[in-house]
């Protein structure tokens, strides 16, 4: 059978394969979720939560995005993408049916089948930082028996900037064993939920630093800094906290040098790091 996806025998890791954007969901004023399927209707490749993929628009460029969908959603890959640069601007103008290039998966995933197993999980995200955690959360929901209690603390600038709001409200919040804490930065008409920054809400909630708990963070650097500080104050150990780093990436295979930090390459050795591992890296992320 001849191959239609351009996966040639000698295909290099740098060469993307064809894929098609089948569905585009507007999440917030500057975030859209793109559903991507291989050109032959396949799922392009298998991945694990936390891993990333390179999306290509020929002539515009290529960039690394975390895969938002869970590996348990086997028909497609979702990418929640915030408009913030040349390529993402272009992606936001696309219509369903548009073909793009994709390559991956890249990086090390969250240790969902090892370290996380049997643990109570706290997910803490800010803004578009929910994208990589979305994949882990849905993976855990699909394998619910493998995990203990799940707490999700998610905040954004405003109610309009909360990504995946419908799914959170209609699915996550309604499931047993899942507690969802939502917050927005400033008061807003029609919002009767919590108001305040994520780190301060974290203190109000006050999670117990049980050894059986794992915290997973993702968000803007300033949020990560204060949330981590908060968790440490509560008594959590850095070995219980996982996060993802984001640096400029190009090749995805630890060779082009761009995401090198200390002896690590974020594209290959990350993007998922345990917080005590980050402490060993030079302070330039």
């Amino acid at each position: 059978m001849s191959c239609t996806c351009n996966h040639g025998e000698n295909a290099d890791k740098l060469v993307p394969v064809r894929a098609v954007v089948t569905e585009i969901r507007t999440e917030t004023p500057d975030v859209k979720t793109f559903r991507v399927v291989g050109i032959d209707g396949s799922n392009c490749f298998d991945h694990m939560p936390g891993q990333c993929a390179m999306l290509t628009v020929p002539g515009v460029g290529e960039a690394m995005f975390s895969i938002t969908s869970s590996p348990t959603e086997t028909e497609y890959k979702d990418f929640s993408i915030k408009r913030c640069g040349l390529l993402t601007d272009y992606l936001h103008t696309m219509e369903p049916g548009q073909e793009i290039g994709i390559r991956g998966p890249f990086g090390k995933p969250f240790p969902v089948d090892t370290v996380f197993k049997g643990k109570d999980l706290i997910f803490i995200a800010g803004g578009i930082g929910l994208a990589p955690l979305h994949s882990v959360i849905n993976y855990c929901r699909a394998n619910r028996d493998n995990y203990g209690k799940i707490d999700i603390l998610y905040g954004s600038r405003s109610a309009d900037d909360l990504v995946d709001f419908d799914e959170i409200k209609n699915e996550w919040e309604k499931e047993d064993g899942i507690n969802v804490y939502l917050t927005i930065d400033r008061e807003q008409e029609g919002w009767d939920g919590h108001v305040g920054f994520v780190p301060s809400y974290l203190k109000e909630i006050g999670f117990k630093p049980d050894a059986n708990r794992i915290a997973v963070l993702c968000g803007p650097p300033i949020m990560i800094k204060f949330v981590l500080q908060g968790l440490i104050e509560m008594g959590f150990d850095k070995t219980q906290v996982y996060t993802t780093l984001e640096l400029k990436m190009k090749c995805g295979i630890g060779k082009c040098g761009r995401c090198n930090i200390g002896s690590k390459y974020v594209c290959k050795d990350g993007p998922v790091f345990r917080c005590d591992e980050i402490d060993e890296l030079p302070d330039e992320y």
Partner: protein
């Protein structure tokens, strides 16, 4: 050990060029670089160091890796054929030969870079001993011996003859192909040359640099060191050191719209450039100090951490002679107490 008269060297090169693509140091516009050899080119055997190293035979400064066509919402992806023609690189110095091992450990480690690997696998490297090492040379610091340059075949110019020793299977096979042009020689005939070279290398002013303060476990000691400020203060942020360096291998990937198709090419990049780590939300190395530090920390600390203590420098001294402000890795090593003399 084999040999050939220097007067017949051109015939040998012509033979090599028949069955392979032959690269060697040739002079163009007054400067010597590795380039494809044709009968009209003169092999610059006396040039110790080409401006650029020979790395771009395997890792070209710019190469297309894939092409695209776009038609309304459809795209076509046209992967590039991998190069398979046999390549011979002649006249490689010991430092550059060693640099290929370092590049191999980057590009050929899993997942391997298929473009580099294809070129590397189809190449035979013929080295030449350094008859006149220069003051900028410090390959000895990295355990490299310019009298025994290694690779597939190593050669020495002695008097009116070129001595030839095949080392690897590839080298032996190529030597066999050329057997009618090479005559038998005695290893003793190159011994004087080897010891002459060894005597010179002992006098090289930078060959006594010590690397004891560097290595994979030195991140914490070196990263915040006060020295970086003075070392980097005059750096103009160009890419000269990076591009003439035989071991620097960072690259960028870009698209180029020819009007007919879109070519995705990769090209050399430099961590010294202000936009190297720039992305939509800014850069994590906004100062030249940080960028300068990254280059040397990578060569002397991060790379050894990932490669069993091997440094990503071969002491070729190209940065010593070509930096616009005369700042270089030797001065960096010295400022951290590496001046052993």
């Amino acid at each position: 050990m084999k040999k050939i008269e220097k007067a017949k060297l051109n015939d040998l090169l012509a033979r090599l060029a028949e069955a392979s693509t032959l690269y060697l140091p040739v002079r163009k516009g007054g400067k010597v670089n590795f380039a494809k050899w044709t009968k009209d080119e003169e092999y610059c055997a006396d040039e110790l160091k080409t401006v650029k190293s020979a790395k771009d035979v395997f890792f070209p400064q710019s190469e297309n890796i894939v092409s695209f066509k776009r038609e309304s919402s459809k795209i076509t992806i046209l992967p590039k054929e991998l190069p398979t023609d046999r390549t011979v690189i002649f006249g490689v110095r010991a430092c550059d030969a060693k640099s290929f091992d370092i590049l191999d450990s980057v590009f050929m480690s899993e997942p391997a870079d298929s473009f580099y690997t294809a070129r590397r696998n189809s190449a035979v490297i013929i080295t030449t001993a350094c008859s006149t090492p220069e003051e900028t040379c410090f390959c000895g610091v990295f355990g490299i011996d310019p009298a025994n340059p290694g690779a597939d075949i190593q050669t020495w110019f002695v008097g009116e003859e070129l001595f030839w020793e095949a080392l690897s299977e590839k080298g032996k096979a190529l030597t066999e192909e050329l057997s009618d042009m090479l005559s038998d020689a005695d290893e003793k005939e190159v011994e004087d040359e080897k010891s002459r070279i060894s005597e010179i290398t002992k006098q090289l002013p930078l060959n006594g640099l010590s690397l004891e303060n560097f290595g994979g476990d030195k991140t914490n000691e070196l990263f915040d060191a006060a020295q970086w400020e003075k070392l980097s203060q005059s750096c103009i942020g160009c890419g000269t050191c990076t591009f003439v360096c035989p071991t620097c291998q960072c690259y960028d990937i870009r698209d180029y719209d020819t009007g007919n198709d879109i070519r995705r090419y990769r090209c050399w990049d430099s961590c010294m450039y202000s936009d190297f780590t720039m992305c939509a939300h800014g850069t994590n190395r906004p100062t030249q100090l940080q960028r300068f530090r990254q280059r040397f920390m990578h060569k002397l600390v991060y790379f050894p951490a990932n490669n069993n203590g091997e440094f990503s420098c071969v002491g070729c001294g190209r940065c010593v002679s070509s930096c616009p402000i005369s700042m270089n890795i030797a001065k960096v090593i010295k400022s951290f107490g590496g001046d052993n003399k």
